[in-house]
Structures are given as C-alpha cells and as structure tokens.
Symmetry: C2
Subunit: 498 residues, 2 copies
C-alpha cells in the first residue's frame, strides 16, 4: 500500500483489490466456515487479555500497511483467536451455528452498504421488509394485511420499542411533554424476564423500580394470579400501569409464560400485551411446538429474533405490531431533509421515520434469503430437530444418575439446565447449605477447564435461589445426539476430580 499513491481511496478497483478480496475469501472459507469449525478443531484458543494483547498486533498508528500480505496475516490472527461461534461445540449463548444462506446474504448486504430508511435509497430492502413482516405476522396469527414491523438492532431494543409504543398508547402526550409531571408509569414482566426490560425502562425514563418482576412458578412461568395482584396493588398505590410483557422462552430456563391467561389480565386492566419471543419465537415455525405460545395472536406486539432460535446471523431482530400506525405516531419527527413529502413515489414507502434509528443496516436480507432457501418447512424441520435433541439431552442426563441433577425436569424450550455433581459430592446431603456452596463452585471450574482446552463452551449461571448450574442450549441443527453425549462427557471429564 505504501507504493500506491491512491491507497486511501474508498473504492474497490480490480487491479488493486481483486486479489486481496479473493485471498480474504479463501481465508474465511477455510478458517471460519469449513475446516476451522470442524469438531476436531478448538472452539476457542483462550488467552488471558494481557497475553492476547501481546500475541495480536492490534495497535493503530499513523502509517499505512506495507502491503496486502500484512493485512491478510492480521485477518488470519483475528479468526484464529476469535471464538468459533459456528462450531457445534459452542453452546454458550442464545446464538450459535452459522447459516450458509444467512452468511452469504450478509456478504451481499455489506457490499451493497444500504441504509433502510427511504424507498429511494433502499427499494429492494423496503419491499423485502414488508413481505417478511407480513409473513411473520401471519404466522403469529395477527390479522392479514395489517399491522407493522421494525427490524431492530437486537431484541433489547425491540423490547424498548414495546415500552415506547405501549406508553404512547396509554399517554400519547408524553411524546411531546415527557414523563416529568405524570403519574409514575409501571410495567410488568416476570422475574425471569430478560434484563433488557430493566435496562430499557431505565433508559426510557421509566426507572428500574417501576419494572415489576412478577413471581414465577417452579417451571419458571409467570404466576398470573400474582400478576393480577401486582397490577391491582400498583393502581391502589397511585401508579399508572401500561404494559405487561409475557416472555416466550426465558433466557435461562426457556420457560413460556401463559399468554392466554395473561391476555385476560391485560384485557381486564386495559393494558398493552407484549410477548418477548426474542428467544422462543422461532418455535412458531413448527406445527408441533407453536402451541407453546398459545394465545400469541392476542398480543399487541411481539419481539422475535430470527438470529436466535432460527440461527440467522447477528443481528436479526424484529418487533411486530398488530397496529399499523402506532410506531409511526409514537416516533415520527418528520425530518424534512430525509422524508420529503414532494417525492415522485408514494411517501408511505419511506418507512424510516417509525424507527429511532436513522441509518439502519439491511438486516432483512439474511433472513429473507434463508427463508427463500429453506422455506417455512425448512425452519420447521430445524426447530423439530433441535427440540427433539433437547429432549434427548434430558433423557441422557436422567440416565447418568447421580452425576447430574436436572433443575427443570421438563424444559419447554431447548435450554437444558442442570448441575453436575462430582463423585466427591455425591454422598453429601443435598438439602444442606454446604452441599450447595460446594456445587456453586463446580461449574466455574469446569468452564475454565473446557475453555483452556478449547474443547467446548457452555455457560453456567446462578438464578434466584439456585446456585451455579449449567445451561446447555441446543440451537444449531448441525448438533446431533453424539454431540449431546459429548457435551455431558466433557463436563464429566472436566469435573470428575473436583
């Protein structure tokens, strides 16, 4: 690059960049998509932050790179030391696998570098979003050819949109006047709901303390009697309730709140019903499992992240609405430099003003291309496969007797949660605090070992009264029964001497 007088130009040229593009592409294919995520390869090459800093040449300065080879070596190192989230043994988060059609579509979207706010700059993506949203709403069971949808930079912000439109529905004047001076507004989620509700409610001026975490039952599902009581009691105390969010697939336990019953309560109090299906929403694609969300068509809005259960590349998060205009009403500011009204096409196709983002990536393309490739049938087969495997995992855990203890006997989603009990603790009294103190320290140790060896990545966490337990999440349809057996073997291997 130091020899090329135009090295800084923001435009690709065949003579200068073709070979570089091809070389990067070969590295991606080999190291990130094919050989690099085979089962015999490490999921991670873990290094402590200070060591990794020394290994990688991350420093930035004044000078350009000498040539493309320098950059290619950097790319190789970035891939080498990055966690292989597409590896079948990466079951650490609510995203994993790497969908071939999704990733190819991301490459196209990056090369087109579009921003989806006006039809004039994003004609294809605008229409594509309309189609995707209509299909998703149909699957939810919302009325045909109505409603709305927004792609969001994550399910957290999708839940933030739910807070915003529900608040607007109840008190539209807040858009203009703000919350100062109004009665404290209050919203209800289950105590196992995703933390984004607290985070966004705080960001949006509602306040952490006005997010009520309604008690859950032993399966992690919202207790609807408690919900009713909490709402009534908040009214009695002078609060202004405006929103209930039912979680369809909680983050840790994978529980589905009873939407039908919650809908009744919302009706009774005139509250907005949101369903956070960021995680579990994908199960709507399966005729076998969609009943986990029975009643979802009664919701006013739904968060559904195709990047979770359906394995679209990150980010791909949607916020779906029964009402066709409220998102625009709540958010539009009608900037005249972008949303001109004297255009030569119908201004309704400029969909940007209902978002809180201005520039916005074309996250739709990856999901659309995946859908084109596999059809709803393909998504269904994927869901049926991974839900089946989760059941297999539960059976396998039971079969392994005293070494494993299920936290939930009958998980509803593909989260399987359990403790590993090493031989040294198997004879202890399981109702003693000492036992649980010891158990609490087991999972972090095992996690450390599996990460240092790079053999697998699986998360652990405490929850409410429960001490650290493992959460296996089955999400990639590459995973098979042998892999599930491997997960449990590996946990045992890393923990049996503890």
């Amino acid at each position: 690059l130091t020899e090329n007088p135009k090295y800084y130009k923001t435009y690709p040229e065949r003579e200068v960049h073709e070979k570089f593009f091809r070389d990067v592409f070969e590295i991606i294919l080999k190291d990130a998509l094919f050989e690099g995520i085979q089962r015999d390869q490490p999921v991670v090459r873990f290094e402590q932050p200070h060591d990794l800093w020394k290994i990688l040449n991350l420093k930035l300065g004044r000078d350009p790179a000498h040539n493309h080879d320098v950059l290619l070596d950097l790319v190789k190192d970035v891939i080498k030391y990055s966690v292989k989230t597409g590896h079948p043994y990466f079951i650490n988060q609510l995203y994993s696998g790497i969908d071939p059609y999704g990733v190819a579509a991301e490459w196209v979207a990056s090369a087109l570098n579009g921003s989806v706010y006006t039809y004039e700059v994003a004609p294809v993506f605008t229409l594509m979003e309309l189609e995707v949203f209509e299909r998703m709403r149909n699957i939810i069971g919302f009325p045909k050819n109505q409603g709305d949808g927004l792609f969001c930079p994550g399910g957290s912000l999708a839940n933030g949109y739910a807070i915003s439109v529900a608040r607007y529905k109840k008190r539209p004047e807040i858009k203009e006047l703000g919350l100062s001076g109004v009665k404290p507004m209050i919203m209800f989620v289950s105590e196992d709901a995703h933390y984004s509700f607290k985070k966004l409610a705080s960001f949006q001026g509602i306040g952490l303390k006005n997010v009520v975490g309604v008690k859950v039952d032993s399966r992690g599902k919202m207790n609807v009697t408690e919900l009713d009581k909490e709402i009534q009691s908040s009214i009695d105390k002078g609060f202004d309730p405006f929103l209930v969010s039912a979680t369809a697939g909680t983050t840790v336990l994978g529980a589905f709140d009873p939407i039908d019953e919650i809908a009744e309560v919302c009706k009774k109090y005139g509250l907005w019903l949101h369903v956070d299906g960021a995680w579990g929403g994908g199960a709507l694609m399966s005729d076998t499992y969609r009943d986990l969300m029975k009643g979802i068509e009664k919701a006013d809005s739904v968060t559904w992240n195709p990047h979770k259960l359906l394995c679209a590349p990150q980010q791909c998060s949607t916020f779906l609405l029964k009402d066709g205009t409220i998102a625009t009403d709540a958010h539009a500011t009608r900037a005249t430099y972008l949303f001109q009204q004297d255009k030569f096409y119908e201004a309704q196709f400029d969909t940007g003003d209902k978002h809180i983002q201005c520039g916005r990536r074309a996250d739709v393309l990856k999901f659309w291309l995946m859908w084109k490739a596999k059809g709803k049938d393909g998504f269904e087969a994927h869901i049926d496969h991974i839900f089946g495997l989760a059941k297999f995992c539960v059976e396998e855990l039971r079969r392994r007797g005293p070494s494993f203890k299920l936290l939930l006997e009958d998980p509803e989603c593909t989260n399987v949660v359990f403790w590993y009990i090493p031989p040294s603790l198997q004879d202890m009294n399981q109702s003693s605090p000492e036992f649980w103190d010891r158990i609490h320290k087991i999972a972090p140790k095992i996690k450390e070992r599996m990460m240092r060896q790079g053999t697998m990545m699986c998360t652990y966490q405490p929850l409410r009264q429960y001490q650290n337990f493992f959460r296996v999440v089955i999400q990639s349809s590459e995973v098979n029964e042998k892999d599930v057996t491997y997960f449990l073997d590996e946990i045992e291997k890393c923990g049996k001497d503890l």
Copy 2:
C-alpha cells in the same frame, strides 16, 4: 435443496455449500464491487414500488428453493435493483463509497458471527475496541489511558447515550426512580441539529418540547448568546437543564458549532457538553481541518461515525467519553447469567453491561482493518482530498453564474448547498415569493429525472426559511474534479427546460 435431506441445517459444508459461496462471491465482485459501480453503469434502476414488487420474486412460503441456481438468480436481482451506494455518482446521503478494507472486514465479521459483550465470547473484538477507542480519544484530545467508548447501532443511538449519561450525571436517582416526579429536564441543541436528539429525547421520556433548538447564524452555526439566554430563561421557568450538544458538521449545511464558546457556557451552568460529530468527526484525522472542531477536547462526550466522513461500511458509530465509568454506572443492571463475577479472567473485560444492547455486532473490525491498511495518514489524505473537492465544487458553482446560486458562500464541511435556477427563472426578481415558489418545485423535478435515468442521485431539501435546494456531499475519495463537473452538468441537463 429439495433433494438434500439436511437442507435446513445451520452449518456450512464444503460439498454442499462451497460452490454456492463461490458463486455468490463472484456475483458480488462483478455486480456490486467492480463492474456494477463503474461510472458508465446506472446508480439506480428505478421502478415504482408496485412495479418493483412485480419484477422481483420476493414472496416467501412453505417450500424450500429447488436448488442454488434459484437463489443465485435472486441474489443477482437484489443487487441489480438495489441502489449502488458505492457508485461515485451516489451523493445522496451522508454515506457513500465502499471501502475495500471495510467491506472485506465485514465479510470476516459476518462469518465469525460474534457478539461483543463478554471477553469469553469476543476476546479479539473486545481488545480491538479498547485500542480503537483509545486512539480516537487521543485524536480528540481527551486525557490518555482514561475515558470510555461504545460502538452504537448508529449515531442516533450514540446521541441517545449522550442524553442518558448527561441525565445520569445530573440526577443519578432517575436510573432507579424514573423521571416522573422530577423537575422537567431540558436540553439544548442548535435548530439545525440532527433530528435524533428530538427522537431520542422523546423515546427517553424527556419529551420533544424539552429539546430547545437554539437559533443559528447565517452560516448555520449555533448562536452562543442565544444559547446562554435560553438556558437562563429555562432555569427561570423552573426547568432543569442538563445537556448542551454542539454539532460538528450539521446534517444539511455542514456547519460546525463553536465548541470553545459553548464550552464556556456549559462551564458557567454546570452542564454536560456533548459534541455530535457523527458527520464531521472524521475531519479530526486531518491536521488541516481538525481546527473546525477547536475545543472538542473540552467535551464530556463525542459522537463520531466512521461510517460517514471516513467511509467505513454501515454501521460504524462510536460514542466516546472522557469519564471512564459513567456509562457503566448509568446503564449496568448486572445480569448474572451473562456477567458472572466468578470468571477466571478479569471481569472488567466484559464490557457489555455499559450498553443498552445485549447482543451486539463486531462493528469495530471494519474500522480497525481500514485503519491498519491506511493508517491515520491515509484517513488524513482521504479527508484532505474530499474537503479540497468541496472547495472546487463551490468555485465551479460560482463560475457557472446565474444558473446556480449558493446558499452558503463558504461551506465548512463537504456539504455544498445551492439552488439551480433554470433559464426560465433567471430573469425573475429573486426577492419575490413567486420566484421561490417556482424554485421550490425545481429540485424535486430534477431529482425525479436523474433517478429515472439512473444517472446520479443527489438529495434536495427545504430548511428553515429556505426553499428546496440541492445538497452535494463529497464523501468518497474516488470522486474527482471531473465527477464534480458531471454532477453540475447533470443537474443542468435535467433542469434546463423547467
């Protein structure tokens, strides 16, 4: 695909997907990155929404695609009918060009499908962010080895973060308690500030009306005497001022608010000073132009979008802070399932909890690789090139006499704003309302014609008292003097008979 029993799997396999990947890659190279954005190719193949719907096969259904060829044809059509934002004649928005290193890095990031919230899943990207933020803060002039930074899904949300931390600084109890019951909080931007302040302030419960748009001078720069008056008057009326945002490069006119003077006012009233350099921030890379932001080191926080003036692919937006802990203090909710405190590495490297997002794409990689490739010197050369061209454009407009009228005689950024006056209007009295009524209708007509022919895309807009005018934005360093001449010729060609 219909013949492959495992067609739905979310995992790439050489035998099944290699050819597909390669075919998609060839299409991208040819249609999106090389031949497709040559000057003799259309910027857009415009079709009205209903016609485009008929041309494209967007519908989604139950069935998988028969084979990869079907998908490849779809990809070709998506590219064909998408706007070529990398084309040198696309000067319609505050993003354009397509940086070769940026786009290659995006491909890598997509294939790694990472989420940057914990070090354990994103070791490389976590350290990379730290390095990029430190360098950016150094360039701003913030103290070394201190401060903070966040990648945001757009400059709008970066500005939202400014609102959030400034509010937290003034009234930390709002995080917990919400805004209800507190004095109305009020913030100050210029009347030409980006609409995201209004949008986010409303979303965050501050209310549209509590965003004061301070008058600007004839060059579009905030009038600081007015600012002082507005703040004083808001205090007198019982409001609680908390934030002033100076814009460094306004969206339409490219004006730079006088940061030094605004900093004095902020000091006087004890207010948070934010600088929205989403658009102009890139000029900090140039020793020649960085003085446009004189005093920026006095800011408490800065929005800076490398995806705008520096041409990183979308999205690449940063929020930079002088204070190292306030973003965490303001936003953290300490979810125990993700930010476990009993990890085997230092928990400070889990940087996710300061964000309002949970999952978050690795937007850092593209900017980092661009920086590695070009060095700060390369960014400087890029900035100097495009700022120079903007000056050339102004001279050229002056030279063309009565056909063009500059709105700003001396634009500060690379926005060049002007009216085209067709021969039929050149003899009219320019102080008559009729003249301006006629002028107002000229730009939309010209825009329609250039889009229908696909020869160029350049935006127009009204602003305050000004009727529809053109805004040429020079941003891609591929653009040269001949191109600038072409832009003006093309406007004349499309408008001379009006």
